[in-house]
Point group: C2
Chain length 407, copies 2
């Protein structure tokens, strides 16, 4: 059995700090945003980590997310609520992508999306810190992950989703024990209601980056990539960017790994991918500003990146710029064409947000922002099974003469 | 990167033999059923395997399905068409199952079901042996796996599914490049059409057990279980039984592992689980006969086990009897209640066929066929996301006053 879940490990969290001002906050207490309304980042005694474990020690453990315990905030093994957070595979897509393109298939995680990484961590910390009632705005996948982990350990959940959230996501959350409501608005409108209830003390607010631990869970995408690629990072990463927790998290992971001496100074160019129907980060990147204005009338088939306003906007923009990458928008037609090509030619059913990364990669290739020889990772953040697919299935009458040659 | 896919390995297939008569057939040739119309089984030089690798050698490899190469039929690494066949996790379900119950969550495999195991192997062999056109009857998941693997390597696929197959499965197959037809009948009616076309030389017939390699792929469920549990098999396995390839495959795997000296003589009791609306194996088991009559008017929410007639019936019945297990049927209400309990209480969204195993386990517990202290594995054969879920999601008007206390 998986010893990562049963072996106690030393932990190295020293404190949290405001991502904007650097102000210090105590560890092991409940926190939402910092005093200036910005995300908190967890800091570790990395010298301590370095003295305690080597990258080979970690590589020798079972490969799930919990092998990274020394770089994660959970103090007690008993706080962990696990549904089997396996290391997700890197799948080549030679036909639709190219010879050097790998999809990190996050749809294999519990609840079928990468949201499991953030939520498994945040729920463990909420449990460790005594939270019993959580509310969250979601476009679908985050709410499903929260519902699963929270129900498993008896934490009550209230989830608010935009009206246009796919039916399958609403049903999945409810079946996994959450109380789910649709709201006539976007995810930030849902977030406003959650924030009001939190201010009234009705529940703990689990909005993206409004509690500090989801980012630590998402960080494991960067840690895993490093280990899977032999501690040599890829040349470029295309990441579907809504709230941007994963992009910020990976950037933090690479920094921690370098400080540990487990990787060198080389960084991938980070490509933040959005849809043309909701591209606040792309607009801010192009304007050269640090913060992104709200995107009005957001609309895209890629629901996961339909996020008009991101509280971590400046962190996303900073990582993209520091990396020498860029922010790119692709339209819905390109997204759906990429999903179709990847399924038909490579047999990989990616989600629309994953399709956006493939479309953006092709666009970047065309514009010379990336070279076909470079090693590239595309993040497929969820299983394509959660999204609408084109109708099919002509009827055959078995009682009639079937023209087999025509099949 | 995964060296299991790139390292050539010695292979040990000696021949195939008829599962009924023992008649010998040559390896490395295309085969369907034996001369007497029964499945062929692949045989290995197990002494050769034993001399070439130890269980520790295999345990030290990356954990995907291809670590078992010496016990698999694929000769050339270049024949492998991989979509990332990870080792599936064992997830405890203490609330809905019990302290000693683990779900093997096969929904994490490519295309979201355990059918990937059989089809990844059968497609590799078809490719190795020069097949260019395949047809298959399916209740959904097998067709999806075939479509993905075959499309990836340019093999054409024609898939026939019963009229009542869920829309999501039909669409998934088509999106992954198959030509998909619905037929007004059951899976064996679809199979008759496939058989007719195969007899006319239009395509190769990939029906369950009608080609010999899917069973070798499914066998890896047994191999993995042994490795994951420290080479100590569980006390009981509950397996949702349609065509029964997995049950037959695991039983074969245990036999091979014992001959290799990697496990002892202890076997799990095998519980073949069916739905009361389609229970031909249960009826045959109770009658004490070796073959199962076709089940007329088959009907159950668990589409994967809606199989009125299984060509490997006698192999399923033999394994169940030899193991000291039994064949059990549960009704749709019990299946849906089990799915609901597992999702709400343990946060694991199993499929109806997986729900059938949980319902059957509870029934077996009640009847004293299994003890709460025994270590039990339930097979969840696919992600619950592929199946209908109850409606949910009350509307909130963000422009009105929302009573937060009522949420």
């Amino acid at each position: 059995m998986n010893t990562n879940l049963t072996t106690d490990r030393p932990t190295f969290v020293t404190h949290l700090e405001c991502s904007m001002t650097g102000e210090r906050y105590e560890a092991d207490q409940l926190h939402n945003l910092s005093r200036v309304g910005r995300p908190l980042l967890v800091r570790y005694d990395l010298d301590g980590v370095k003295a305690a474990v080597s990258r080979d020690t970690i590589a020798a453990r079972e490969t799930d997310l919990w092998r990274w315990r020394e770089l994660l905030p959970v103090r007690k093994s008993a706080s962990i609520v696990s549904l089997g957070e396996i290391e997700t595979p890197l799948v080549p897509i030679p036909a639709s992508g190219g010879a050097n393109v790998l999809v990190k298939d996050e749809g294999r995680l519990p609840t079928g999306s990468f949201k499991a990484r953030g939520l498994v961590m945040a729920v463990a910390m909420a449990r460790e810190l005594g939270v019993t009632r959580i509310a969250m705005p979601t476009n679908g996948n985050a709410g499903a992950a929260l519902a699963a982990y929270a129900s498993r350990c008896g934490i009550e959940t209230i989830i608010l989703a935009p009206q246009e959230t796919p039916e399958i996501n609403i049903r999945e959350m409810a079946l996994q024990g959450a109380r789910v409501y649709r709201v006539n608005g976007q995810i930030d409108d849902c977030g406003a209601i959650v924030g009001k209830g939190a201010a009234e003390g009705r529940w703990f607010d689990f909005s993206t980056l409004k509690e500090p631990y989801r980012i630590e869970g998402k960080k494991t995408m960067g840690l895993e990539l490093a280990a899977q690629m032999g501690w040599e990072l890829p040349d470029a990463i295309f990441y579907p960017t809504g709230g941007g927790t994963g992009l910020i998290g990976m950037w933090k992971a690479f920094d921690e790994l370098e400080k540990l001496g487990w990787i060198g100074a080389k960084r991938p160019r980070m490509f933040a991918v959005q849809a043309t129907g909701c591209a606040p980060i792309v607009r801010a990147f192009e304007k050269g500003v640090d913060h992104a204005e709200r995107w009005e009338n957001a609309a895209t088939v890629a629901a996961g990146i339909r996020v008009p306003r991101a509280v971590g906007d400046f962190l996303i923009l900073r990582a993209v710029r520091e990396s020498g990458g860029t922010a790119l928008a692709v339209d819905d037609d390109a997204i759906l064409a990429a999903v179709d090509a990847c399924a038909k030619r490579d047999g990989v059913l990616i989600c629309p947000e994953g399709g956006a990364t493939l479309a953006a990669y092709r666009k970047a290739l065309g514009e010379g922002l990336v070279d076909a020889e470079e090693r590239v990772i595309l993040f497929n953040c969820a299983t394509g099974l959660k999204y609408p697919m084109p109708a099919a299935g002509e009827m055959l009458d078995r009682n009639a003469e079937i023209d087999l040659a025509s099949l």
